[in-house]
Symmetry: C2
Subunit: 124 residues, 2 copies
């Protein structure tokens, strides 16, 4: 997978979070999220497209008008990627930011997504 | 696993890279790296303790006197961690920096380590 292909998959994945159209969300997740995909961040640990679709819908209900935006390009090697993101409120303010890591399955979709919130913690 | 336990495992793992004593390196990897562990960064994709021990030894030969130092605390949730690091030369200069992500196996050791070099790429 080259960088443009990885960027296209991530774009579809982010669009799936941002749409309010459940049929469109499903279509975008079928494009970007593997059948046995998992998604884990500090607040949730879920498996499968149905669970992720519901979680993304809940995100939209929690933060009406908010959108996820990429804050970096897609860094990738060996079928592994990372990218930065933020949740932008309707006024453009950053409501949350973080980084996602993911594995790309052999069919080119995201298989295992792990998110972390905020910057790296300071040295202890 | 609490934060102190995660920090102790990562400390042993980093020490395994830094030591020049092969028996000590083996002992540290037995403490910190799962039997079926994998390590992948932009330059290498390897599986198993023997392969990682040899890779760490090659690191020491490539950059004599260099040490890996943590540049952040250990961020963790759901048995997943991330931390920042740098390769410090004998004079303290940064030779490389990056971030590692890893899964913690049920026995408390690192099972799947994925490193990325440098900062996140700029938005495309």
């Amino acid at each position: 997978m080259n960088e443009q292909e990885a960027a296209a998959i991530v774009a579809a994945y982010v669009d799936a979070w941002n749409t309010g159209d459940e049929a469109e969300r499903r279509r975008l997740l079928e494009t970007s999220f593997a059948d046995a995909g998992t998604y884990t961040d500090p607040a949730v640990d879920l498996a499968g497209r149905d669970a992720l679709a519901e979680h993304a819908a809940a995100f939209g209900r929690r933060w009406p008008g908010a959108r996820i935006e990429l804050t970096s390009g897609i860094d990738h090697h060996h079928g592994l990627i990372r990218f930065g993101w933020r949740v932008a409120g309707p006024d453009g303010a950053t409501l949350r930011e973080g980084v996602d890591f993911a594995e790309i399955a052999s069919d080119g979709r995201l298989r295992r997504i792990v998110g972390f919130f905020g910057p790296l913690p300071p040295p202890s």
